[in-house]
Structure formats: structure tokens, C-alpha cells
Symmetry: C2
DNA sequence: ACAAAATGATACTAATGTGGTATCATTTAA
DNA sequence: TTAAATGATACCACATTAGTATCATTTTGT
């Protein structure tokens, strides 16, 4: 059971590195060298971060990526959603049929509670807090 | 992100049904008819439940399954472990390398906390509590 | 003893998700 | 106008999950 997938993980590390170079435009090559992430995969990840407005990209010679201005408001869960889609702890438990012995399945409620807790926790971690010493 | 897989889900429903027929030996055919779970898959699931000592099986004509005597002590997490193995929310995040900007990665701690919470919650739900009206 | 009805064991197949690659198009600075 | 960067997109490989198929074993009734 994985809460965080590899692309999310890589994204986080890349962001940390970009944040370290405050203000500077950082290219794929630089990140690749530092973090040893396979280049094509890294490119894909950065492109997604750009689309999701977590990074800003600059094309052409001297191009690369910087943090978005609103970076301090972005949380771990935003990052996870970018790569892992909407986070439902369990999507379809008892969707088709209910346990015949219960009218309101108590397990569903429990799962919902757990889900909400997890989302709250993940949503409380800003990427900035991970970057700042 | 799935916390509970299909076999765990099916297992839970099957157990609910068996519990309803208190004491009676319930065959695969009966469960299949009631819950519309594909028979070979259901058989596999029930065999696992037997091996994990959550159900008792009886072979031969009139055979089938009943709940184990210690049923009241079995929790949702036991069921999940039977099908999904040991439950680690995240196994290897930052295993190979740490985010270069942090010495003790705060995210790792957060994940650990979430994991412990989830395990505690799931371990607090007895299957019996789901079955009992 | 034996046949039928049940589960046990095991190996295989199909579908999906994750991790990763390859290639061409587009933009931009020198 | 060319080289260096990212954008878009399609593809491939592997692992996990979901499900099937088949034969072996046990048990009960006749």
C-alpha cells in the first residue's frame, strides 16, 4: 500500500532543489545531475508541475523552471493530487452492494473518518515548510 | 489510492453473510447466490480465510464454512493483512536519498504519524461489530 | 466400496496502474 | 537562423490486482 508514488516523491525532491536556487531558473539538466532522476521521467514530472501551476517554465536557451509566486500556499496534498489524482482512501467499497446485515454500514463511516484525517494531515504540510531550514 | 482491495471487501461481505446464518455451515454456492461474487474468486478468498483462521472449513457433502470461535477478537486490520500483506502506508519514501535540503525529513515523520493513526483506527474495528445489528 | 458433493492446492490469464522511454513540435536567446 | 531549452504525445515494461481453470483430497449417503 503506497500513499505516495515515485513521481510525487521525485517532484518533491526536484522542488526542494529548485527552491534552494532561490530565484534562479533551474534547467532539467541541473536537476538531473543533482538528483540522479532519469531524465525523460524527470521532464515529464516537471511538465506536469508546470501544468498544475506549481512551477513556472521558461523555454529556449537558458530556460528551465522556477517556483511559482504562490508557492508558500501549496501543500503536500496538492502535489499528490497532481500525480495521483483525487485522493480517496477507498473509492468503491460497498458501492455495488451493502453488507446485507447492516443498514448503514459502520465501516464506511470509519473509512470516511480515516480519509478525512489523512487529507487534513497531508493538507497541513506546505512544501515551503519542507524546504525551509 | 486504495486502502482496501476487492478481495478484502468480498471477504468482509462473505463473513457478514456467514455470520447471519449463525452456527450453520454455509457453502460457497449459497454465498455466491447471495452476493453475486464470481465463484472461483470467492472460493480462493474463502480458502485464504480458512488458512488465516478467520473461517473454519468443512469438506465433503454438506460442507462449507463457519466463523471461527475466536471471531469476536478479529478486526478489520486482520482481514486486510490476510489479503494485502503487512500494511505500511509508505515503504520507501526517501529510502535511497533524502531531500538535500533537510537533515531530518519532516515529511517522513508526518507519514509515520498518519500510518500509526490509520492502523490504530482499522485495528479498533472488530468484524463482529460490523455484523452485529 | 463407491459416487457425488463439497473444499484444498496450484498454476495460469486478464486488466490495470506505475514507472519509464522515445520522438517530434514549439519557443526563445544569442 | 540555429542551438538549447521545454511542450505534447505516444509508446513500452513491469508489478499488482482481479479473476479463471483444473486437478487433488475429503466426507457423507447409499
Amino acid at each position: 500500500m503506497k500513499l505516495i508514488t515515485r513521481d510525487t516523491d521525485y517532484a518533491l525532491r526536484a522542488i526542494c532543489f529548485i527552491a534552494k536556487n532561490k530565484g534562479k531558473i533551474v534547467s532539467v539538466s541541473e536537476i538531473e545531475q543533482e538528483l540522479k532522476i532519469p531524465r525523460p521521467f524527470l521532464r515529464k514530472i516537471l511538465q506536469i508541475l508546470n501544468k498544475k501551476k506549481i512551477l513556472i517554465s521558461y523555454k529556449g536557451i537558458g530556460g528551465g523552471f522556477t517556483l511559482v509566486d504562490s508557492f508558500k500556499g501549496i501543500t503536500l496534498i496538492d502535489l499528490m493530487r497532481a500525480f495521483q489524482g483525487p485522493l480517496h482512501i477507498n473509492e468503491c467499497l460497498f458501492k455495488k452492494a451493502k453488507c446485507p446485515n447492516t443498514k448503514k454500514c459502520p465501516i464506511r463511516k470509519k473509512i470516511k473518518n480515516i480519509e478525512q484525517y489523512v487529507l487534513k494531515e497531508l493538507g497541513s504540510v506546505t512544501l515551503y515548510s519542507l524546504v525551509a531550514k
